[in-house]
């Protein structure tokens, strides 16, 4: 069973003549325990797809299932609780609360839920992201890479069904970016997590198990464990058939 599935997903912004379809009937599914990438040129709808999959945005039509839960059947409150308990997020930037320390940021989803952290799991996650000696620091005292590692730890702390990453390396230098990708990769390979990442970086995508391509708001193609060259070729091909 797929961890995540979108059926005939459409998202239209605006109404009447000014209406723009960001997603136009996308059918796609994501297997559990794998590292997925969503790629496409600017305006292909990849971010909108991620937002709809994660329950941050309501699709105009179509359905999204996380596990066996149909997001369309949830009201805002239930959707929020689902995100809180079963979904993890890593964003491009401004990922952390500046007023909280690294530890507090990591534990934030649990704190919001009013739950006690599992100490062993916390230690394991913190060790995995290499932040053991940085827990008392605030975001302003950390580098961009360190901040993003805190964000990854925060996404892992609830053992979510799926982690969504929106251009997680977009604001980082290549070394820090590699580290963060490595962490996500390890989360999948070693902890059995499911990760869905939007990226335009083919090197990032090349570390994934599967890459889904979008074009003009539609599903275009998918590649399993592609090399960077295959990705470039696919993007060019997608561009060509788009003209």
């Amino acid at each position: 069973m797929p961890a995540l599935q979108a059926t005939a997903l459409s998202k239209v912004y605006g109404t009447g003549e000014s209406a723009v379809a960001a997603l136009d009937g996308v059918d796609v599914s994501f297997q559990a325990g794998r590292f997925h990438a969503i790629m496409g040129s600017s305006g292909s709808g990849k971010s909108t797809l991620l937002h709809c999959l994660a329950g941050l945005d309501k699709p105009t039509s179509g359905a999204v299932r996380i596990g066996d839960t149909d997001l369309g059947s949830l009201n805002d409150e239930k959707l929020t609780l689902l995100r809180r308990d079963h979904v993890g997020f890593v964003f491009q930037r401004f990922n952390l609360l500046p007023v909280l320390t690294a530890q507090e940021n990591i534990l934030l989803p649990l704190a919001i839920a009013g739950r006690k952290p599992d100490r062993a799991w916390f230690d394991q996650v913190v060790a995995a992201v290499g932040l053991t000696d940085r827990l008392g620091h605030r975001p302003s005292e950390m580098s961009g890479g360190q901040q993003q590692r805190v964000a990854v730890a925060r996404a892992l702390i609830t053992r979510p069904w799926v982690i969504f990453a929106d251009e997680p390396t977009g604001n980082l230098d290549s070394r820090s970016g590699d580290e963060v990708l490595g962490l996500l990769r390890d989360a999948v390979s070693q902890l059995g997590q499911t990760v869905v990442m939007v990226t335009h970086d083919m090197h990032a995508a090349a570390r994934c198990d599967r890459v889904v391509f979008l074009r003009d708001g539609r599903y275009a193609a998918a590649l399993d464990s592609p090399s960077p060259d295959q990705i470039v070729a696919m993007l060019e091909h997608a561009d060509r058939i788009g003209r």
Binding site: D76, L81, R83, L97, L108, A111, I112
Partner: protein, 798 residues
């Protein structure tokens, strides 16, 4: 550049509106006060003018020489050629008024006047019924009659302090009032013979109506020559009456404007804070302008123009709100004696002042933030300015703040006069304001501890947010601190001076009942004591007299409690006579039995005062019912006797304490209402800060929502933030006010009559509850804004 400013203002309409709201309130108060007092002034001058209707010339003398019986003078005046009619007139106070056979007494400082039977010489007209035409008829002002429910045709009793009460029939009502500020007192209009009998002395004023074809100027000159007394024409009389009426209105206006100034200062706080925040958020925009070649001066000027636009908009709205306020003020102020029925007057001057205040205050308040906020290097446009590091408070500010606060506290500690207390209070508050960026966040952390324990992570987050910019939270709470300090100080002082009224009543009242005049200043007739003594069923009677001994240059009073024995005296320390010495009063030497604190006072028994002085004022009478008589019965007996004395009212101890407190409570309520505007403006500031924080934290909040914060929880964090700010501000303000109140009470303690600080916990609790509630309300709109937009849109926000 101007069009850019206007566009910026338009784009930031919510922020502009919020910052202008404080301007609106401040301007509304100032312009409302002006409109009200202009209306008051015109009403009072109109009143002043109508009191001389039908009077062509007025004669008034300092006193009537004792050889003139009054009758002779009026006869001479009437004989002067050109006089159509002349009438002696009296204005009498210390009037007692009752009805229902004396059982129902009208409380208040009443005024009695008389009118001629000649309608051509009556300045007062009857609105219902008719004017008194003969002895035994009177007219009352309509307001009093309808308030007390006295119908035309009823029998009322009127007395003054020197005469027995007489019965009159109410024949009409007038819409004239006693005039001036006191709304409680009645106007009693009598026929001349009744007034002459009641007064018992000749009138010092004669009003004259001129014969046809004789001008007032002519007549005044003729009268002056004929009787040798200064005669003034109608116009002169009206002018001088108007002048004093305008003076009264001006005093009132200045008091109101004092509160207006406070409100405007609060608004200035809020505006300055708003501009600081807005400009901080616009750093990138400002830097961009600088990058493409605007000079810093241009950017600075554009901010000031923006302030002027906001100030102007606020002033226009404020003027509108001021009209509403002016319509509402009479009701609010009626209890401190403002006359009702004032029609607000909007003059061109008021409009100009409102505009000048609104625009001026906004621009001046924006000046400092504008100077700081535009000092942005162009390169900031290129960096990521979204995370701003809060600038720590400067060392100079901290040191000077500490010094000023210390001096202020020192002054408060040693103050022995009111001026020092005020100075100390101003310095202490200023010092606190300087220290606030350090003090307020620290206090917020303390205040928020219990909340954090109760509320969990969501609330902890709110509290962390609250103190993330120490300057901002300090400035936000400062406005509240000042407002609360004002209100709490007034409340504490009022309640502390009120508390002794119970003690005062205890000290004064040794008997069960106290009989005094119907107002604090009304004198009671001397014979009341005699009449009460003749009625043994009433109980034991203890009259208190007051008289001034010119020879001794001292006040002579009846000693109430701990009275000396007959024939001996107590003296105040200021007279310098020791126990065992003697004090000579009116030729009799009294051995001194004791010394009390005070300046120049001698206490004797009531009998000794009556014996030594031909005339002494009866100030009050205490009555102890006979043993074994129940309170209700004793009271009924006493009241039956008092029915013959309209101006005398009996109180038991609880009633007397109530009476002592009533006036204070009314005044306190009005002052609190006027000051609460300052607090409302401060709370607008809280809402303002929250809104701007929400805008600033758009992406943070979106991220929180993404990782699972529900809408309700997000609202809760903002409410908690507002609550903590409000509570901290209220607590600081209350602490400051306690310090000021202690010092103030100490400074007036003077002659050993120490006032202790009474903390009215109930009122302070109400103040705290109101601040908390208002803060929660203040967080509603920002919270709605925070949860309104979609998460994805906010995540992408700049």
């Amino acid at each position: 550049m101007l069009s850019l400013v206007l566009r910026t203002a338009k784009a930031n309409l919510t922020r502009a509106l919020l910052s202008s709201l404080s301007v609106v309130l401040g301007v509304a108060f100032v312009s409302g006060s002006l409109m009200f007092t202009d209306g008051l002034s015109s009403m009072l001058t109109a009143q002043a003018a109508t009191q001389y209707d039908n009077v062509d010339v007025g004669l008034s003398m300092e006193s009537i020489s004792s050889d003139d019986d009054g009758g002779a003078l009026i006869g001479r005046v009437r004989k002067v050629d050109g006089v159509r009619a002349a009438e002696p007139v009296w204005s009498m106070f210390n009037i007692g008024l009752s009805f229902d056979g004396g059982a129902r007494k009208v409380l208040g400082d009443h005024k009695a006047v008389n009118v001629s039977a000649d309608p051509g010489l009556q300045p007062i007209r009857a609105a219902e019924g008719r004017m008194p035409a003969a002895a035994g008829e009177i007219v009352l002002d309509k307001r009093t009659a309808s308030r007390e429910g006295i119908p035309i045709g009823a029998t009322v009793q009127v007395s003054n302090f020197g005469s027995e009460a007489r019965e009159y029939r109410l024949v009409g009502l007038t819409s004239s009032t006693k005039g001036g500020f006191d709304t409680q007192g009645a106007l009693v209009v009598m026929a001349t013979p009744d007034m002459a009998a009641m007064a018992g002395y000749p009138a010092t004023t004669i009003v004259v109506s001129a014969a046809d074809g004789v001008s007032p100027d002519d007549l005044a000159a003729r009268l002056g020559a004929a009787v040798g007394i200064e005669a003034r024409t109608h116009d002169q009389l009206v002018r001088s009456a108007m002048d004093s009426a305008v003076g009264n209105a001006e005093e009132f206006r200045n008091a109101l404007l004092g509160f207006g100034v406070i409100a405007v200062c609060m608004a200035a706080f809020v505006i300055a804070n708003t501009f600081t925040i807005v400009l901080a958020q616009r750093t990138r925009e400002t830097a961009l302008l600088r990058l493409i070649g605007s000079t810093r001066r241009q950017v600075f000027r554009s901010v000031l123009v923006e302030a002027a636009v906001i100030g102007f908009g606020g002033s226009v709205l404020g003027l509108g709100a001021g009209v509403l306020l002016a319509l509402g003020l009479p009701a609010a102020l009626a209890s401190v004696g403002a006359p009702s029925g004032v029609t607000p007057v909007l003059s061109g001057g008021t409009v100009l002042i409102a505009m000048a205040v609104g625009v001026g205050v906004t621009m001046v308040s924006a000046m400092l933030p504008a100077r700081r906020g535009t000092a942005v290097p162009p390169v900031a446009a290129l960096g990521d300015a979204s995370v701003q590091v809060a600038r720590p408070a400067g060392r100079f500010r901290m040191i000077s703040g500490g010094l000023v606060a210390a001096i202020g506290a020192g002054l408060l500690a040693i103050a022995n006069q009111v001026g020092l207390v005020v100075g100390g209070a101003l310095l202490a508050v200023t010092g606190f304001l300087l220290l606030s960026p350090a003090v307020v966040p620290a206090l917020v952390r303390v205040v928020s501890k219990p909340f954090a324990l109760l509320g969990g992570a969501t609330v902890s987050l709110a509290l962390a947010n609250a103190v993330r910019n120490p300057r901002r939270i300090a400035t936000t709470t400062n406005a509240l601190v000042v407002g609360v300090t004002l209100i709490a100080t007034v409340t504490l002082l009022a309640k502390s001076t009120e508390a002794p009224s119970e003690r005062a009543a205890d000290e004064k009242m040794f008997a069960h009942f106290l009989v005094t005049g119907s107002t604090d200043t009304t004198l009671i007739p001397d014979e009341l004591a005699t009449v009460l003594r003749d009625r043994p069923e009433v109980g034991t009677v203890y009259p208190s007299y007051q008289v001034y001994d010119d020879a001794l240059n001292a006040e002579v009073l009846t000693a109430g409690r701990d009275a000396p024995a007959q024939g001996s005296a107590l003296v105040s320390a200021g007279l310098g006579i020791a126990v065992g010495g003697t004090v000579t009063v009116q030729g009799q030497a009294f051995p001194v039995a004791g010394v009390r604190p005070g300046d120049r006072t001698v206490w004797l028994t009531a009998d000794d005062i009556k014996k030594r002085f031909e005339y002494a004022f009866l100030t009050e009478v205490q009555v102890e019912p006979p043993p074994g008589v129940a309170e209700a019965e004793a009271r009924a007996t006493l009241d039956r006797v008092l029915n013959a004395f309209p101006s005398a009212v009996a109180y038991n101890k609880a009633e007397y304490v109530d009476r002592l407190n009533a006036r204070m409570n009314q005044a306190l309520a009005v002052v609190t209402a006027l000051l609460s505007l300052a607090v409302i403006i401060a709370l607008v500031g809280v809402a303002n800060t929250l809104t701007l924080s929400v805008v600033e934290r758009t992406r943070e909040n979106a991220m929180l929502r993404a990782i699972g914060l529900t809408r309700r929880q997000l609202r809760l964090t903002l409410s908690a933030e507002a609550l903590v700010m409000a509570l901290t501000g209220t607590i600081i303000g209350t602490l400051l006010s306690i310090g000021i109140a202690i010092s103030g009470l100490k400074s007036v303690a003077g002659d050993g009559d120490g006032l202790e600080l009474t903390i009215p916990w109930d009122r302070l609790a109400v103040l705290l509850a109101i601040a908390a509630l208002a803060a929660l309300t203040a967080s509603v709109i920002p919270a709605r804004r925070a949860v309104r937009d979609s998460i994805t849109a906010n995540l992408a926000a700049e």
